[in-house]
C-alpha cells in the first residue's frame, strides 16, 4: 500500500498551492514597502498603541511615508487614536484603499469594518460552540488580508501594532518572513519587565527577528513648576541589564498624550515642544538609524 508521500497530490484540492498563493499576495503587496516593524509589548496597558500612533506620526513628520496595521483584531484602537474612525474604506479590484490621517499616515484596522461602537468581532459560523477551534485561525486570515490586500503603495515604514502577548508575533513572522524588526514597549515595572522578557526571547531567540530596541513608556513625570523628574513607578530594576536589549528611549508621562489619543489628534503633532514629544521624536530617529545602517 502506497504511503502518504508516494501519493502524487492531495486529490486535486492543491491546498499547498492555495496557501502559496496567499503568501505570494502578501509578498507582492509588500514589495513597495521598505521596512516592516512590529510594535509589541507582551504586557497590556503599557501604552503600546498610543506610542505606535505617535512614532508613526513622528516618522511621517520627518517626511517618511508610513502605514499602520492595527494587528489587535479584537481590541482595535489605532483608528480612534489617529482620528480616522469615521473613514469609509474603498474597495477596488486590486485591493482596499486604507484610511489616511490628516498628516498622511495610512491605517487599516478592524475598527474601520465594525458596524457599531459596541460591536465585538463576531465571525459568521453555523455555531459559535467550540469556536476556540477556529477563531484564532480566522483572526490570522483577517491579519493576512489587512497586510496583503491593503493598497499601501510606496511606504518607508509599515508598523504593525500587535495585541498584548507574545503569541501574535509568530503569526506575523509566518505572514512576513522578512520582518524588519521589533520595537518592544514596556513601563518601569518588574511585572512588565517579566512579561516583556518573554516577548524579547520569542522575537530574538526563537523567531530570529532583530530587536530594534526597547522603549520605556511612562518612565517618569516632569514637574511642570520646577522641571524636576520624579519616578512614576517605584522600581530598582535596571532595564538594560534585565532585558539585555538596547533602550531606544524613555518617554515621560504626560496626561495630554492620553487626551490626544482620545481626541484622535496625535500628541507629537499637537504638542511638539514637550519632553514626551522630544523623546518620541528621538525614538523615531533611532528607528530610522537602525534601518539605514
Amino acid at each position: 500500500m502506497k504511503s502518504y508521500k508516494e501519493l502524487p497530490d492531495d486529490a486535486g484540492s492543491n491546498i499547498v498551492g492555495q496557501v502559496a498563493a496567499q503568501s505570494d499576495r502578501i509578498s507582492k503587496r509588500l514589495a513597495s514597502v521598505q521596512n516592516t516593524v512590529a510594535i509589541m509589548s507582551g504586557k497590556g496597558g503599557v501604552g503600546k498603541s498610543a506610542i505606535t500612533a505617535n512614532i508613526a506620526t513622528a516618522l511621517t513628520q520627518m517626511g517618511c511615508a508610513v502605514g499602520i496595521v492595527d494587528a489587535d483584531i479584537n481590541g482595535p484602537s489605532i483608528a480612534k487614536m489617529m482620528g480616522v474612525r469615521n473613514a469609509t474604506l474603498e474597495y477596488t479590484s486590486s485591493g482596499v484603499k486604507p484610511a489616511t490621517s490628516s498628516l498622511g499616515t495610512k491605517i487599516i484596522s478592524m475598527d474601520l469594518l465594525l458596524s457599531e461602537d459596541d460591536a465585538p468581532v463576531l465571525w459568521n459560523a453555523h455555531s459559535q460552540k467550540d469556536a476556540f477551534t477556529w477563531r484564532s485561525t480566522m483572526e490570522v486570515s483577517a491579519l493576512r488580508e489587512f497586510i496583503g490586500d491593503t493598497e499601501w503603495e510606496e511606504l518607508d515604514y509599515l508598523l504593525l501594532d500587535l495585541p498584548p502577548g507574545s503569541d501574535r508575533l509568530p503569526n506575523v513572522v509566518e505572514l512576513i518572513p522578512n520582518l524588519g524588526g521589533v520595537v518592544v514597549i514596556t513601563i518601569p515595572s518588574e511585572v512588565s519587565h517579566l512579561i516583556v522578557k518573554k516577548s524579547i526571547t520569542m522575537a530574538r531567540d526563537i523567531l530570529k527577528v532583530p530587536i530594534v530596541g526597547v522603549v520605556e513608556n511612562m518612565a517618569f513625570y516632569e514637574c511642570r513648576h520646577c522641571g524636576e523628574h520624579e519616578p512614576l513607578f517605584a522600581i530598582e530594576d535596571d532595564i538594560d541589564k534585565t532585558l539585555h536589549s538596547r533602550t531606544l528611549g524613555e518617554i515621560p508621562f504626560d496626561p495630554k498624550l492620553s487626551r490626544c489619543s482620545d481626541n484622535g489628534t496625535p500628541y507629537v503633532h499637537e504638542f511638539p515642544d514637550t519632553p514626551a514629544s522630544y523623546a518620541i521624536t528621538d525614538i523615531a530617529e533611532k528607528i530610522q538609524e537602525f534601518f539605514m545602517t
Partner: protein, 176 residues
C-alpha cells in the same frame, strides 16, 4: 489530505461536493481505476476551520477578492460599501462557471445560519417572543435566535414563547 483506493493502490481524485446540512459539508472522491467512490464528511467545526483558512476543497481557479474573508465572514461588519463587488456576487459567478463548487457549498452552509426561519421543521415564534428578540442587540441577535431555536428543538418545543426564551437564557451571554 490524501485518499487511497486500497484495492487499486491508487490515489483517489476529488469528484464533487454535496449540499451541506447543518453546517457540515460532504466531499466525494473517486478512484480513477475502479471508480469506487467514498464520501468524506466534515463536521461544522472542520468546515469552519477550512473556511477560516480561506481554503477550498477541489481547488480554486478564481482570483481572490480584496479582504474576502473579512468582508464575507465578519458578522458584525458595516454594510459593504461596494455592493457591485460583493463577495456574494463573486460566489454566484464562480458557481455558474463551475470553477469552484466548494465556494458555493460553503456559502450555502452558512446561509442556513443566517436564514434559520426558512427551515420547514423549525419551531414557530410567538409575537411576544419575537418582540423580545428584537430587543437583543443586532450584532448578537442572529446567534441568539439560532441558539434559542436549537434549544427549543432539543427540548421538544414546537413554539417559542417567552417561557422558552427564559429557559434558554442561561445558555447565552446576551440578556433578553
Amino acid at each position: 489530505m490524501k485518499f487511497l483506493c486500497i484495492d487499486c493502490d491508487t490515489a483517489m481524485k476529488f469528484k464533487d461536493v454535496t449540499r451541506p446540512e447543518q453546517g457540515s459539508v460532504t466531499a466525494v472522491f473517486e478512484c480513477p481505476e475502479c471508480f469506487t467512490e467514498i464520501a468524506m464528511y466534515l463536521n461544522p467545526s472542520e468546515t469552519q476551520m477550512l473556511k477560516s483558512l480561506d481554503l477550498k476543497l477541489g481547488g480554486s481557479n478564481e482570483m481572490a477578492q480584496p479582504m474576502q474573508v473579512v468582508r464575507s465572514q465578519l458578522e458584525t461588519a458595516k454594510q459593504d460599501p461596494m455592493p457591485n463587488m460583493s463577495i456574494e456576487s463573486v460566489t454566484e459567478e464562480s458557481t455558474e462557471s463551475g470553477k469552484c463548487p466548494f465556494t458555493s457549498v460553503i456559502s450555502d452552509a452558512f446561509d442556513e445560519k443566517t436564514e434559520p426561519e426558512q427551515e420547514p421543521t423549525g419551531p414557530e415564534w410567538t409575537s411576544e417572543a419575537l418582540e423580545r428578540l428584537e430587543r437583543i442587540p443586532s450584532f448578537v441577535r442572529p446567534m441568539a435566535k439560532m441558539g434559542i431555536e436549537s434549544y427549543a428543538k432539543d427540548n421538544g418545543h414546537t413554539e417559542i414563547t417567552g417561557e422558552v426564551m427564559d429557559a434558554a437564557r442561561g445558555n447565552f451571554p446576551a440578556q433578553f
